[in-house]
C-alpha cells in the first residue's frame, strides 16, 4: 500500500503530509535516484540525438584528414618552389602546365562540393524516409 493512512478519519482530517509513500522514505529515495538518472539521461541524450543530420564524423579521423591534406599542400608548395629554383629552363612549359592546373582546380573543387552536398542530401533523405516509415 502506498497510502500512509489506515482509515478515512485519519486521511480526511490529516494535518501534514498526505502523499504516496509518505511512510516509506526508502521508496522516495529510490524514486529520487531514478528521477536523477532520467535527468542525466536527458542531458546525455541532448548531445547524442541528431535526428535531422547525419551523425558527426569521428573527430580523430577528421583531424588525420586535415593533417594529411596540410602535408600534401605543403609538399606541393615545396616541390613547386624547388622546381622553380632548380629548373629555370623549363619555365615556359611549367607556366603552361600551371595555367592548365589553374583552370582545372576550380572545376575539381566545384565537383567535390557538388558531390559532397548531393551525398549529404541523399543521406538526409534516406534518414527522413527511414524515420517516417
Amino acid at each position: 500500500m502506498s497510502s500512509p493512512f489506515s482509515n478515512p478519519k485519519e486521511f480526511l482530517e490529516a494535518e501534514g503530509p498526505i502523499y504516496t509513500f509518505g511512510n516509506n522514505p526508502l521508496m522516495i529515495t529510490f524514486l529520487l535516484i531514478v528521477s536523477g538518472i532520467l535527468f542525466l539521461w536527458f542531458i546525455y541524450a541532448s548531445y547524442k540525438i541528431k535526428s535531422g543530420k547525419p551523425p558527426a564524423k569521428n573527430p580523430v579521423a577528421l583531424s588525420l584528414l586535415i593533417v594529411a591534406s596540410a602535408f600534401s599542400l605543403a609538399g606541393g608548395v615545396y616541390n613547386s618552389t624547388v622546381d622553380k629554383i632548380h629548373q629555370p629552363i623549363k619555365r615556359e612549359s611549367r607556366v603552361i602546365s600551371s595555367k592548365q592546373q589553374q583552370w582545372q582546380l576550380p572545376i575539381t573543387l566545384i565537383g567535390m562540393v557538388a558531390s559532397g552536398s548531393w551525398l549529404q542530401r541523399h543521406s538526409q533523405k534516406r534518414q527522413r524516409k527511414r524515420k517516417y516509415q
Partner: protein, 471 residues
C-alpha cells in the same frame, strides 16, 4: 467587517476562483486552434481552425440544453438509482434528496443559471464544466482534420462533449457517482474521464473515417504528411499547457464555509501541490518524448501534455518523484503508441489517441498501482487496482470507443461523414469556406485558379446593381 460581509467574501472568493480558472481554460482552445491549424496543410488551415472554433458553439449550447443536467442526473444510474429529473421524488431517500438539490438547478429553465442574487455558484460551475466539455470535444477535432465534414464533426462533438464524457464525469468525477461509491475510483485530473473517453472515442471515429488521401502508399506503408507550420503548433501547445494549469486548478473544490481545499471526492489536497506536480509532469513528459522520438519536435512538445495526462488522476496524492518517473514513462511510450497506430492504417493526424487515449488510460490505472490504499470515505472502498481498472475500462470502451464508432458508422452510412474526394484534393479552405488561409501565396495552380474565379465572382456580385440600391 461584520459576519454577513465575511460570509459573502467567502462566496465571492469561490465565485471568482472558478470564474478566472475557467477564463484561463479558454487558452486550451486558443492552443488547440493554433495546434491543429499548424498541423494541417496550407490548403486546409482555415477550415481546420473554423471547425475547431465551432466546438465552442456546438458544445457550449448543447451543454446548456442538456449536458449540465446529464452531469447532475446520471450519478446513481444504473447501479444505485435511476436518472434524476422532474419526474423524481426527492423524498425517495437521503442520497436522492441531496442529489436533487443540484439537479433542480441544472435544467435550462432553472432560475439558478440566470442572474440571481440568491445563487452565485451554480452559474460559475456551469461555466467551468462547459469549458471541460469543450476541451474534451476539441481533442477529437485535431485527429479528423483535412477530410471530415464540418457537420459530422459538429454532431460528434455534441455526442462526445455534451453526453458521453458527461456521463463518465457523472459516474467517476462526482461525489454521488457510482464509480466512486462502489469502487473507490479516484481520477482527480480526469485522466480517464476526459482524456481516456475522448481518445478512445476518436479511435472509434478514425476507423470509420479512414486516412487522408496520400497518407499510405500502395503497399499500405504510411507516408509523412508534414505540418505546414510546426512553430504555430508548438505555440499552440504552450497555450494548452497554460490552460491545463487552470483546468487542474478548477478540479479543486473550495466552497463558502470550507476550512480546507478538497477534491471532488471530498479528500484533502492543496493547490500548491498541483502547481508543483503539473510543472514536474510537464518537464519530465517533454524529456520522455524527446528521448523516445529522437527529438521529433511534434512529439517532443506533445510529450508535455502526455506527461500531465499520465499523472493527472493521482496528481493530488503523488509525491513529486512519483510524478517525474510516471510522466516520463507515459510520454516515452506515447510516440511509440502513435507510430504503432499509424502502422495499423489509422491516420491520427495529431497523435490524439497516443496522447489522450493511451496516456489517459495509463494515468487512471496508475492510481491503482502508485496510490493504493487511500480510504476516501466511510463505506467507500479504498483505492486499488480493480477499483481503477473496471471504471477505466467502462470509460474508454463503453463511453469512448463504442459511441465514437457507432456515431461515425451511422454518419458514414448516411454519407455524412467524409468530404468528397475532389474537395479533399482541392483543400477544404476553398471547398468549405471559399477563401484561402494564405491568399498572398499561390500554393498551387489549381487552388489559385479557383480562388481567382471566386474573387472575380465576388467582385462582379458586388459591382452589379441591386434592386433598391441608390447610386
Amino acid at each position: 467587517m461584520n459576519a454577513e460581509a465575511q460570509e459573502f467574501l467567502g462566496t465571492f472568493i469561490s465565485e471568482s476562483y472558478y470564474f478566472y480558472a475557467s477564463v484561463f481554460m479558454l487558452l486550451i482552445h486558443a492552443g488547440f486552434l493554433a495546434y491543429e491549424g499548424g498541423a494541417s496543410r496550407t490548403k486546409n488551415v482555415l477550415a481546420t481552425m473554423v471547425k475547431n472554433l465551432l466546438t465552442l458553439s456546438s458544445v457550449g449550447l448543447a451543454f446548456f440544453f442538456f449536458g449540465w443536467w446529464v452531469y447532475n442526473a446520471f450519478p446513481l444510474f444504473p447501479v444505485s438509482g435511476g436518472i434524476l429529473g422532474p419526474w423524481t421524488n426527492p423524498a425517495t431517500n437521503e442520497t436522492v434528496k441531496a442529489a436533487m438539490t443540484v439537479v433542480e438547478t441544472s435544467y435550462p429553465w432553472s432560475p439558478a443559471l440566470a442572474p440571481n442574487t440568491a445563487d452565485h455558484l451554480t452559474g460559475v460551475f456551469f461555466f467551468a464544466f462547459a469549458l471541460f466539455a469543450m476541451t474534451t470535444a476539441s481533442i477529437l477535432s485535431g485527429a479528423l482534420i483535412e477530410r471530415v465534414k464540418i457537420g459530422a464533426y459538429i454532431i460528434m462533438s455534441i455526442v462526445l462533449g455534451s453526453f458521453t464524457w458527461v456521463v463518465a464525469a457523472a459516474w467517476g468525477w462526482n461525489p454521488f457517482g457510482w464509480f466512486y461509491t462502489a469502487f473507490g475510483y479516484h481520477d482527480f485530473g480526469c485522466s480517464a474521464v476526459v482524456h481516456g473517453v475522448s481518445g478512445f472515442f476518436t479511435l472509434g471515429v478514425l476507423l470509420n473515417l479512414g486516412p487522408r488521401i496520400g497518407k499510405y502508399d500502395e503497399r499500405g506503408n504510411p507516408r509523412p504528411i508534414l505540418p505546414h507550420n510546426l512553430p504555430l503548433t508548438m505555440v499552440g501547445l504552450m497555450l494548452i499547457f497554460v490552460g491545463f494549469y487552470a483546468f487542474l486548478a478548477a478540479c479543486l473544490i473550495f466552497l463558502p464555509g470550507y476550512t480546507r481545499e478538497t477534491t471532488i471526492y471530498g479528500t484533502p489536497m492543496t493547490l500548491a501541490s498541483i502547481g508543483v506536480n503539473t510543472t514536474l509532469a510537464l518537464a519530465a513528459g517533454i524529456i520522455g518524448a524527446y528521448i523516445s522520438s529522437k527529438a521529433d519536435p511534434f512529439f517532443t512538445i506533445s510529450g508535455g501534455l502526455a506527461g500531465i495526462i499520465s499523472v493527472g488522476a493521482g496528481m493530488d496524492l503523488y509525491h513529486p518523484t512519483v510524478v517525474i518517473v510516471l510522466a516520463f514513462f507515459g510520454a516515452f511510450l506515447m510516440p511509440k503508441v502513435a507510430l504503432f497506430i499509424e502502422k495499423l492504417g489509422i491516420d491520427d493526424a495529431v497523435g490524439a489517441f497516443g496522447v489522450h487515449g493511451f496516456c489517459g488510460l495509463l494515468g487512471s490505472l496508475a492510481v491503482g498501482v502508485l496510490a493504493t490504499g487511500y480510504p476516501q470515505g466511510e463505506g467507500v472502498p479504498v483505492t486499488g487496482f480493480i477499483g481503477q481498472l473496471i471504471p477505466t475500462l467502462i470509460c474508454v470502451i463503453v463511453l469512448g470507443f463504442i459511441p465514437g464508432y457507432a456515431t461515425s458508422w451511422l454518419l458514414k452510412k448516411l454519407r455524412l461523414l467524409r468530404v468528397p474526394r475532389d474537395e479533399e484534393i482541392a483543400g477544404l479552405d476553398i471547398a468549405d469556406l471559399g477563401v484561402e488561409g494564405y491568399p498572398e501565396y499561390s500554393m498551387n495552380w489549381a487552388t489559385a485558379t479557383v480562388t481567382a474565379q471566386n474573387r472575380a465572382e465576388a467582385v462582379t456580385g458586388r459591382l452589379e446593381p441591386h434592386p433598391g440600391m441608390q447610386e
